[in-house]
Amino acid sequence: MTSVAAAIVTAKAPGDDLDAGFVAGWLGKRLACDTVRVTELVKFPRGVSRETWFLSCEWTRGKYTGTDRFILRRDLPGGSICLGELRAEYEIYRRLGQSHVPVAETLWYEDDPRELGDHREFFVRRHVEGDWNIPNLFDPDPRYNPLRIDIGREHVRKLALVHGCDWRALRFDEILEVPPSPADSARCRIEAVTREIDRLAVEPLPLVTEAVEWFLAHQPSGGERICLIKGTNGFGEEVFRNGEIVALSDWELCCLGDPAMDFALVQSFLDDVIEDGKQLWGLQPALDYYQTLTGQVIAPQAVDYYRHLYGLYRVQYSQTAAHQLENGDKLCRLAWLSAEVLQLGQRALASAIGCTNTEIPRMGQR
C-alpha cells in the first residue's frame, strides 16, 4: 500500500496548478514505492511556451529509502505556444537518449485519464545536476574573455554533435517533417509557421504576407545535408557542470533542416570577444571552429537569414497567445506575448524586407 506525504510546496493556485498530494500519489505508483514524500514542487518562473516543474521526493520501498529529483513538463492550460506537441517533445528526448547528445533521461509520459484526474497530461524526465547559469559570463572584465570563449566553443561542439546525429537511424523522420532536400529546409519552416498563423486567424497581418514572399524568394542553399536542428539554444537553455554541457534542454523548436538555423538561434554564446582589435570569438570564429569539427561550411548570410526568419516564429507565438486569451485563458504572460512579442517579430520581418533599418531583436531572454 502506497502512502504519500508532501512538504515544502507552494500553495496550490486556483484551477490548474499541480499539488504535492497528486504528484506524490502518482510517483508512488510509478516508482512502486511504499511511501513517497514530495519535498519540493516548484514551477520554473521563466517558462513561456510550456510549464516546467522541479520536483524532489523521498521514498521508501521495504527496507530501502532514497531520494529522487525530476523535471515535469506540461502544456499551458490552453496548449503550448510553440508548434510542436508535448508528446513530440517527449519523443525527441527519448530518441536523443539513444544518441551521444547529452540530454536528460525521459522516464514517463502520462496521458491516461484515470491517472490524470482533472490534471493536464505531462511527461517526466530525470533531473540533471548542474546549472543553466554561468557565473561571470556577462561580466565585461576582459579577464572573463577566456571563459566566454571556452563556453562558446563547448556549445559549438555540442551543436556539432546534434547536427551529426543519424536522425533516420533515431527515427526522427517519424515525428518531424523531412524537407525533400537541403535547399527546401527554409521553405518547410516558413510553410509550417505561416500555416499555423493562418489557422489561428487572429488578425490580418499584411507585413507577414509581404515578408513571407521575401523569405521564399531569398532562401539559403540549405547546406550539404539535412541535419537535426535543436532550435532555441545557448544561454539559459543548456545545463552546465564544470564548464561542460551535460544536458541540452528546450527542444520545442527542434526540426530537420539547415544547421545555419541553430547558429541564428544561439543566445549570448556567440557574443563578440575582441582584444587589441582582434576578434577572438563571435559568429565567424564560431563558424570557423564548427568547420574544423564537421567539415561543413555555414555562410554567415544564411545565419542572418534565419535570424530574420525567427521574426515569423515570434509572430506565431504572439498569435497563439492572443488566440488562447480570446478563448478565455487568463495568464498575463499571454498578453505580453501577444503585445510585445508581436512587435518584436514584426520588426524583424520589416528589417528583412528593407522597410526599416533598425537592428533586429536579439535572441534571448524575452
Binding site: 488578425e203 499584411p206 505580453w336 510585445e340 522597410c355
Partner: protein, 171 residues
C-alpha cells in the same frame, strides 16, 4: 478628470512594487509581478495614446489603398488582371468608412483598422500572384513600394505602445 489614467496606473505600479513584490515568496509569483508591471504600463499607453494612433493609421491606410487602387486602375493590363480584386478592395474601403455622426470609440476604430488591414492583405496577396508577369512594370513596383512604406509607418506607430512600456525584465 483628475487623476488621469497615467497617474492612476503609475500609482498601481508603485504600490505593487513597494508593498506586494517584497512580500512575494514564490519565484513564479515574483516573475508574474514583473510581467504585470510591464503590462500595466502598456495598458496606460493604450488608454492615452491608442485612439489617436488608430485614427491616424486608419486615415493613412485608407489613403494608401486609394492611391494604390488609382494606380492599378490606370494600368489597363493590371486592372484587367486584378479586376475582381480591385472591385472588392474599393467596396471594402467604402464599407469601412465610419458614419461621421457616430462617436469613433476605440472599439469602432479597432474594427475599422482590422477591416482595412484585411483589405490590404487581400490586395497584397492578389499582387503577389501576378508578380512574375509584372515585376518589371513601374506601376507594379510603385504599388508594392507604397504598401511597404505604409507597413513601416504602421510599425513605428505601434511601437509607441510597446517600447516605452516594456522595459527591464519581462518575466
Amino acid at each position: 478628470m483628475k487623476p488621469d489614467t497615467s497617474r492612476i496606473i503609475d500609482s498601481i505600479i508603485w504600490s505593487l512594487d513597494n508593498y506586494v513584490v517584497p512580500e512575494t515568496r514564490s519565484p513564479f509569483s515574483a516573475s508574474i509581478m514583473v510581467t504585470v508591471q510591464n503590462l500595466l504600463r502598456h495598458v496606460g499607453l493604450r488608454a492615452c495614446v491608442e485612439p489617436e494612433l488608430r485614427w491616424e493609421d486608419n486615415a493613412d491606410l485608407e489613403s494608401v489603398l486609394e492611391r494604390v487602387l488609382q494606380r492599378l486602375e490606370n494600368h489597363p493590363q493590371l486592372a484587367a488582371t486584378l479586376r475582381g480584386g480591385l472591385a472588392e478592395t474599393r467596396k471594402a474601403v467604402q464599407d469601412s468608412r465610419p458614419d461621421p455622426a457616430v462617436f469613433p470609440s476605440i472599439d469602432r476604430l479597432t474594427a475599422r483598422a482590422l477591416a482595412l488591414r484585411a483589405t490590404l492583405d487581400s490586395l497584397l496577396k492578389a499582387l503577389i500572384t501576378v508578380r512574375d508577369s509584372y515585376r518589371d512594370e513601374q506601376t507594379y513596383l510603385e504599388c508594392r513600394q507604397e504598401i511597404r512604406n505604409y507597413l513601416a509607418r504602421q510599425l513605428v506607430r505601434e511601437d509607441q505602445l510597446i517600447t516605452p512600456a516594456f522595459t527591464g525584465n519581462r518575466r
